[in-house]
Amino acid sequence: MFTFRGVDFLDMDSMLSDQEKLVRQTVREFVEREVIPHIEHWNREGQFPRHLIEPMAALGLFGANLADYGCAGMSNVEYGLILQELERGDSGLRSFVSVESSLVMYPIREYGSEEQKEKWLPALQQGRAVGCFGLTEPDFGSNPSAMRTRATREGDHFVLNGEKAWITNGTMADIALIWARADDGIRGFLVERGTPGFSARDIKGKMSLRASVTSFLSLQDARLPASAMLPGARGLKAPLACLTQARYGIGWGAIGAAMACYNDALEYAKVRKQFNDKPIASHQLVQERFADMITEISKAQLLALHVGRLKDRGSADPAQISMLKRNNVKMALDVARSARDILGANGVADEYPVFRHMCNLESVFTYEGTHNIHTLILGERVTGIPAYGS
């Protein structure tokens, strides 16, 4: 373990306000003190650090970029910096905050009834309740439009049937936002823990995001009052809008994981000596790796900050956010693999964080739209021709 000093080759800090730097600093300190000393243990044990929910809520991290209902009302750039610092600690922790903020609080804020907002937003913001987002199914991941989960209207109730898979926070959640096909298209439902017919169990044997809970959800004749439906969410574009929020944050988070790997590889290479008692950092091939890593991290930082500023102006396009997610997660995975190589055999042990980040990033590469899916979104955007089914 080496001291983390941040990575800022292009003096990006000169483009951040004092307030933005303070936001980053407070989360960096939190992660440094509360996460870094314990994360390898949690990861090894496959444990999510539940005890951090309360202090993270006290900091204001849940729904940080939303307004009202107790939320902090930070900018999108500040939200991005928060997620970057969390993922410097661990992608699992960042995933937790992403799901809470972008996939549960955001849709309730955006599509919920006043009653739903008042019931859930303060509770989620204060960490008194945990949420999850159920879109993916065992048979439908990249193509959620073909989902099988159904919501059938029976008087003033809905009856839900179906299976959801790979749901972050599933077994921990007090409230599950379930996307299901109703007569009038895909709709979102708030399913409370304990609803008869609704159950969750964890997916075991994950080699990635081990410090995060991932679950199967099952709905068998789960009866919900009609008031459980999000009135404003109609069609697949609603969950996709949530994903756009989350993908934006992931584009920043990935930089955090890359910075952690780069930092440790650099410090390691300066002290590890091979051949003529020279630090491996002095070998040309190793320097090439660092030149590539720092260039890619810097480009990713520029991209994230620029898209963040666009988003704060209200003009970020979902395809631009796809570019951010696609580029930055791939970048982080490449940096993690390079860093892993530089650590030699030590790179495969959890004495260093690099292998953990590398494995985590495999999930990040897949969720929130796989790398390929973002390729197709960009392809469609520039050619005007959708190629998903071809």
Binding site: L22, V23, T26, G60, E78
Partner: protein
């Protein structure tokens, strides 16, 4: 209770330091800055006293433009207002002149208690707090580990040598210099960071403080800063394992003084 906390912004710990061209200080454009560690504990102690006893926490720093960030951080953590002593005439002050400027600001703010860090992580003088107290003519005590508020007085625990402690009673107004580690400093919350924007941050130069420039002339000058020269001395101990262990223990105890 009205409490003033004096903060200093210093080069970040664990930063990679390089000397400036004339070897009188580190190259400041190389380093990032943070609040001096003991000062963070002083701020936390002040915030806790305020939460218990009521009152106000005023934070004060003397430093260049960038030092305003330290004040904003303190405001974000819960200080009520901030004073930034900022003036071209305040460059390269020694502890004495710094204390003189701080004393002028403290007199204007008129707190019941001043907390400073025990010492600054950069120059390690451990002087500013005590000189400040002398200039104010207030009671003072150093290396404080715990504070209990009483009627117009404080009980404070001091760290002595060799693991000993001492409880003292000290009348107000007073100046205490705080030891690191005495509490668990809070994080700035996002709401605190937003709230800091609307809190008063006052800037004072030497004129507003009623100082004359002459009084700020340093009495002390850093003539040279250097990295301790590395001595690559290796000593081989020979003999049986028992003899080697005995001589090694002897050397660690009496030469290196580490055991």
């Amino acid at each position: 209770m009205k409490i003033a906390v004096c903060l200093k912004q210093v080069p970040a710990r664990d930063g990679v330091l390089r000397l400036n061209a004339d070897s009188t200080w580190v190259r400041e454009d190389d380093v990032s800055f943070e609040i001096n560690e003991p000062d963070i504990y002083a701020l936390e102690e002040a915030l806790r006293l305020k939460e218990k006893e009521g009152g106000e926490v005023v934070v004060c720093t003397l430093g260049p433009e960038r030092a305003a960030q330290a004040l904003k951080e303190a405001l974000a953590k819960g200080a009520d207002r901030a004073i930034h002593l900022h003036d071209p005439a305040f460059q390269n002050l020694d502890a004495y002149a710094t204390a003189r400027a701080l004393a002028a600001a403290i007199r204007q703010a008129a707190p019941d208690l001043v907390l400073t860090g025990l010492q600054a992580d950069d120059d390690g003088f451990a002087q500013t707090g005590v000189i400040l107290a002398e200039m104010l003519g207030w009671a003072h005590s150093t290396i404080i580990m715990e504070i209990q508020a009483q009627e117009r007085a404080l009980k404070a625990k001091r760290e002595l040598e060799g693991g000993w402690f001492q409880w003292i009673e000290i009348p107000l107004p007073a100046v205490l210099t705080i030891q690191s580690g005495i509490n668990k400093p809070r994080y700035a919350t996002l709401k605190g960071i937003l709230a800091a924007k609307t809190k008063p941050l006052q800037r004072l130069g030497w004129k507003e403080l009623g100082l004359d420039e002459e009084a700020l002339k340093p009495r002390q000058k850093i003539t040279k800063v250097f990295v301790p020269p590395k001595s690559g001395k290796v000593e081989w101990l020979e003999g049986t394992p028992r003899e080697i262990a005995q001589r090694l223990a002897d050397k660690l105890k009496n030469e290196a003084r580490v055991i």
